[in-house]
Symmetry: C2
Subunit: 348 residues, 2 copies
DNA sequence: CTGAAAGCGCTAACAT
DNA sequence: ATGTTAGCGCTTTCAG
């Protein structure tokens, strides 16, 4: 009860108590090098008895490794292009995987206008590797990534690719997702399928659009670029496109919509409902992400399920591997499968 | 282009180039102690020229401070008692505030069955302070917190209090929230208001129940413990209570329900809808949290808005203060105001 | 299998 | 205002 005076030179005491050198204490505690079983036991016991725990600070310093995996993500000020669903699923995957390897997660929030000093995090040795969420195809992001690569830092993007740039990436097969969605809608008899996309700075916007085009063309129906609207992945932008969509539906120029994420789909669904148009009756609607919200709407939203949790796991284990076996392999690109989840909103 | 060989003894070089000692370099870079403006400039220039950045590892070690704020939170394996809304709002608040002080966030996920070795994180010096989310009133949690306190580590709970235990806490006025909700329902003419609570291991479950009771009693209507159901904060548990609630509503034994969170409220709303009972028509419904989902349901859900983002900010700034001025003040308890947001589900 | 000793890069007295 | 120096606590060669 009164041994709370946290000793400082505890390690020395442990060594003494066990009758060995500090070096041996280190060997035992880290399980490295040959150590006689008996010595090992003595040290372990001494450590436990003295309630000794090594300082992570000193270890990191001596090893020149922070033991931290950086997770860079956009700061969500109330609302954001990323649904919290996306965010928490990926984070859970990362957390689960990192934990198993004893790696800690350092969260790095990136404020909107701020310069992307990712490389700085490595130079200061705050992190040993990192996973980047929400990167976009814009110069500031791209340059920062190039810099990371140039300096040889291990990093991995989730859900974002750069044309012709070989960055490590874990992505989902968004193209296939909207391909499937489009085929599904055509099977339901839809003839004029519109596409409500997100900003093209996100590679998955492009992927999704591509799948939609391919499905149409495969069916012998030429892609009509006029049938594409662009929002910003917020519910508001979906809601706001209801005005034009209502008109299109009423005049028979549209009988279905694929929205590039659930938030926009939900906004659109609500906006159209206010105008008397019901998803699953007056038009068919498909979203992307299969977020929690897809189950809450009325009618429930057909959506494309993306394995975000798994993406987090995958990216993390790849990074951890890269840290243990620094074999300079070529950049990898994992593409996880998606799955169309059909609900009432697309059943006309 | 070829100066990529990251020097190791860069600091020494900086000192030389600036014609000063390493100590002065340190002073300049940290902005401490008196330094002649001219020297300062010389050093800064030398540092920039040599592209020098101090090693956080070495700094932390020398200062004996990790510079990390620990954030302990439950690992969300797919779904959890915490809505992702709650989770991401609080995290955003923490991230925003910590960032401004140059503190980093170390995420510590706590797996379900696992022992709570919070104190360990301090002993190993991985964190300087921490914020704990999702703690419950159960022995394993309580003991871990007591240990933290006994060892004098700065920590703060969000949304959880322990009777008679003076832990630092940032909470919301949940009692007032359900008080207001109850009054609101009575004003709508509801006479038999039920309460669907969450597990009592969460202090806010108790707070909410208390507000409900107080409102009833203030109105001269005695509290009837039979009108309380208990779920586990999941949508499923709300959905499952629809069976019994449907019967109660049909037989006139219930005309309103307050659910202790939105997820349960939404589950209940859906379950009752399947049984032909519509919120806002056949009965009144109020949830808690004012999550995104509250705006998605049909009808939209009346709910109690809780300033989760602000709670994260508040807890963080308190912890950061505690680190800079280690004045041992008494444990604090902040109680943030909540706000009833009336939507269609409660307008009978 | 174990001990001795040399750092890891920076900070913070203490001296000047 | 600046230089000197002694660590911070651990890991890791290198000997033995």
């Amino acid at each position: 009860m009164d041994d709370l005076e946290e000793g400082l030179i505890r390690r020395k005491a442990v060594a003494q108590l066990a009758g060995v050198s500090e070096a041996t204490v280190s060997r035992v505690l880290n399980g490295v090098g040959p150590v006689k079983e008996e010595t090992r036991k003595r040290v372990m016991e001494a450590a436990k008895q003295l309630n000794y725990v090594p300082s992570a600070l000193a270890q990191q310093f001596a090893r020149q490794k922070s033991g931290n995996l950086g997770v860079i993500l956009p700061l969500l000020p109330k609302v954001n292009v990323f649904s919290t669903y996306y965010f928490s699923e990926i984070l859970s995957g990362i957390g689960h995987t990192a934990k198993q390897s004893g790696y800690d997660l350092l969260m790095l929030f990136r404020e909107p206008g701020e310069p992307r000093e990712y490389a700085h995090l490595f130079r200061t040795q705050k992190i040993d590797a990192c996973i980047i969420l929400g990167a976009q195809n814009i110069p500031s992001d791209y340059d920062a990534l190039k810099e990371l690569q140039r300096e040889g830092h291990p990093f991995c993007l989730i859900n974002q690719q750069y044309e012709g740039a070989p960055f490590n990436t874990v992505d989902a097969d968004h193209r296939m997702g909207s391909y499937d969605a489009t085929v599904h809608l055509m099977k339901q008899g839809c003839q004029r399928i519109w596409f409500l996309n997100g900003p093209s700075a996100f590679s998955n916007s492009l992927d999704r659009l591509e799948g939609y085009c391919q499905a149409l063309e495969t069916a012998g129906e030429p892609f009509d670029p006029n049938r594409v609207l662009v929002g910003n992945y917020s519910r508001k932008s979906g809601y706001e496109s209801a005005d034009i969509m209502a008109e299109l539906i009423r005049t028979g120029q549209a009988d279905a919509v694929i929205a590039a994420n659930d938030r926009m789909a939900i906004g659109l669904l609500q906006g159209l409902k206010e105008r008397g148009l019901i998803a699953g009756e007056d038009y068919a609607l498909v979203g992307c992400d299969d977020s929690d919200g897809a189950r809450l709407t009325d009618p429930p939203l057909t959506s494309i399920a993306v394995p975000f949790y798994e993406a987090g796991c995958e990216a993390t284990s790849r990074m951890l591997e890269a840290l243990t076996e620094p074999v300079l392999t070529a950049p990898f690109t994992a593409k996880l499968p998606v799955r169309l989840v059909v609900r009432a909103s697309s059943q006309v």
